[in-house]
Symmetry: C2
Subunit: 474 residues, 2 copies
Amino acid sequence: MTAVRDREKVLRKLRPLFYPESVAVVGASDNPFKLGFHALAAVTSSGFSGPVYPVNPRAAGTIQGLRAYPGVSELPEGVELFVYAVPEREVAGSLREAAARGARAAVVFAGGFREVGGEGARRQEELAGIARENGIGLVGPNCIGMFNTHAPINATFASPLSFVRRGRVSLVSQSGGVGTALLCGLTEEMVGVGKFVSAGNRAALDFPDYLEYLEADPHTTVVCLFLEGVDRAREFLEKARECAASKPVLAVSSGFTGSAHRVALSHTGTAATSEAVYRGSLAQAGILRLEDTGRMVRLAKALDMFGRPPSKGVFMATHTAGPAIIISDICEREGVRLPRLSEERAARVREFLPPHAEPDNPLDMFAQAWTDTSLYLRSADIALEQEDVGCAVAVFASGLGAGPTFPAREFAELGRKHGKPVFLCLIAPMNLAGELEEAQGHGVCVVNSPEKMGHLLSDLAAYSRLRERVSRNR
Amino acid sequence: MTAVRDREKVLRKLRPLFYPESVAVVGASDNPFKLGFHALAAVTSSGFSGPVYPVNPRAAGTIQGLRAYPGVSELPEGVELFVYAVPEREVAGSLREAAARGARAAVVFAGGFREVGGEGARRQEELAGIARENGIGLVGPNCIGMFNTHAPINATFASPLSFVRRGRVSLVSQSGGVGTALLCGLTEEMVGVGKFVSAGNRAALDFPDYLEYLEADPHTTVVCLFLEGVDRAREFLEKARECAASKPVLAVSSGFTGSAHRVALSHTGTAATSEAVYRGSLAQAGILRLEDTGRMVRLAKALDMFGRPPSKGVFMATHTAGPAIIISDICEREGVRLPRLSEERAARVREFLPPHAEPDNPLDMFAQAWTDTSLYLRSADIALEQEDVGCAVAVFASGLGAGPTFPAREFAELGRKHGKPVFLCLIAPMNLAGELEEAQGHGVCVVNSPEKMGHLLSDLAAYSRLRERVSRNR
């Protein structure tokens, strides 16, 4: 009961940010060369169903067809979320007015705060104070905002983000640019997004707050982070550990070399400036650090689809040796096992293999499996019985609309029957995304190049090993 | 004069394969469940303008609307290219008949040759003998064929490959599956392909022959290879060295671990089975080995666009720090320099920077450069003057159709003015390929994630270093 009450309390705290009942856009504009034009368009294009209040002292009558308000003090009481598309000097005064009228959450896009030092740092302190004193959940400043596909609300200044696929992978990125790159990656991989936050300077809400919320959030299955530095390191690691105990938390970080920003992460009061120590701190908290945004995106996809990584070895079947060799090379290099089939199972597989094919793992069934795709189903059905096989991978060159189609629906059913994840390396260009997407829709985790598949299997294994280590040390 | 005559001789040798005047498809069919259906459709869909002769003893009248021939001996004399879509046992007999009627080139799809040992190896010897004795340029067996967008001819069994963009990057892949993956990668990166060969078992034509031809081929600017093993190692390295001296030759290879196929490459008669020795042999020949098909594809794109790698440091400008930090991290780790601007140039850049921005490299111009994209042009124009700056990189988050557009045309013009390559990391999902493609069409080399940009710059630098080493040792 306490746990449930705690969870509800946590969710309640950021509810006005992620599920606002009403939104004001300060600086809203009819001029598409102004940020406030795009900020308002983002809110209205998102399908947000509550009242939206454009605020602009220079506006007469309406903005983008909505009744405009000359100032915050003219707004009705109790507007929940304030989106600030105004210069840095104008934010604090307006936020005080908003607080007085009952604001509960705010998003501030402007830069010119802590990142510029001096006066900017003082401005940021002022914002933080107003947020703290009034219990306002404030995102930014110096960020591209946030969205939640489940509300739905798009409080960024990019209306096209309203069309990001709804899903359960949530993202918190210190950098708006990398956040956008991650959203592009998720879109390419046909993965749905839940909540997205561009955390920026983190004057008020910071990684620990977002992690606490996302841990409690029933619509988030996987949390992806992009970190450059961490301010409240001890708290960060504590919340990260709690969140990672209930759902996968993945991170990409940068800024370790030369003149690039240095990350100082502290667990015990000591600054951890080297990459190794930093990675170690994340690992202790149960967070897997990935080398590459693309790899994080694909790992998030698999973990979202299957809930947990396959804890055992991989069975792989192909009609074309080359890509399977690339995948096996990566697997072997990164410690992913491809167990041999038992003698009894090998004999059963041999029965339907073409002449000269050997019942090995990886299993090369030659071109015969391209025309008779049932060979994939028959071999995987036998291999997935085996205790030390945790998942099945099929490698298939797309018929590109003129040749055979991989039996993705049946392959996914096989996975569900055995309770083990199934993967497909479908060699096809992205402009055939229809075929990729359909296969994935059936419940097969699909990627379109052998290296992507090899790295995905490696990263799943790394995540699995990390979680085992964390559990043992508990 | 000798060089020109030699070149013409080399081109003449494989002319009937890459630019055939007439094509017979043996095993052609009206049944879409037969390979011969797809093989014939590939030829006819490619835009091939010469006569096409379907051959099938069981056909009556026409196949796919073309007059059908019951056997090779019924064909007119002098058909140049024979495409074999028949089982392995039927190839040799038919090829003898074709040779008797003047065949000059052949493509054999069937497996069941050397790769299965015993009888298969003997069958392959027989094919090789027929090809040798009759001067037939034979591709395969155990392959997916070849195409040439410049003929045009598509002698694979995948008619959709007829729509691969015409261009100047040529590919020879031992594996059909990896070859397809490379074509998918090139298509995704909007790179045009010239010649594609799935080399398969290389009973007759082998890597040395293809390298010799592609070196001479005026329509090929960059050669990409996928290797699993090499048979005629000394000859391979000799032809590779010659080819690499006139145009970039890049390679991905696999099969180095555990039970995967082992590569034996010999330069001096000693088998080179380890990855390090293998890489060393390739490097001595001036071939750069890449880790990953995606990286090879993007490097080929840049080298095709610009002819040679930038030999100096990188200037990078951004409106968003995060992605630029990821790129700098990769650059620094892989030895790519970002030189500081001279004091005089830094002062000129500072004049138009927003407040608080510093004229560093990478140059962060904050959100102001997103709305006023001329800042990219002004800063790059100054930086590209500098002697130790070899190229310019812009990092830009796409306005996704609702925000600003990067001035790619002007940026490309700047590159041409300075005679230095220009690159754009345009953060945008692939489904906005129109924007990516347009920018690239102007002459900017575009990729859509920070890691791809970092690795491209690193791989260009690695290629540049390799070529310098090779030139020094000459």
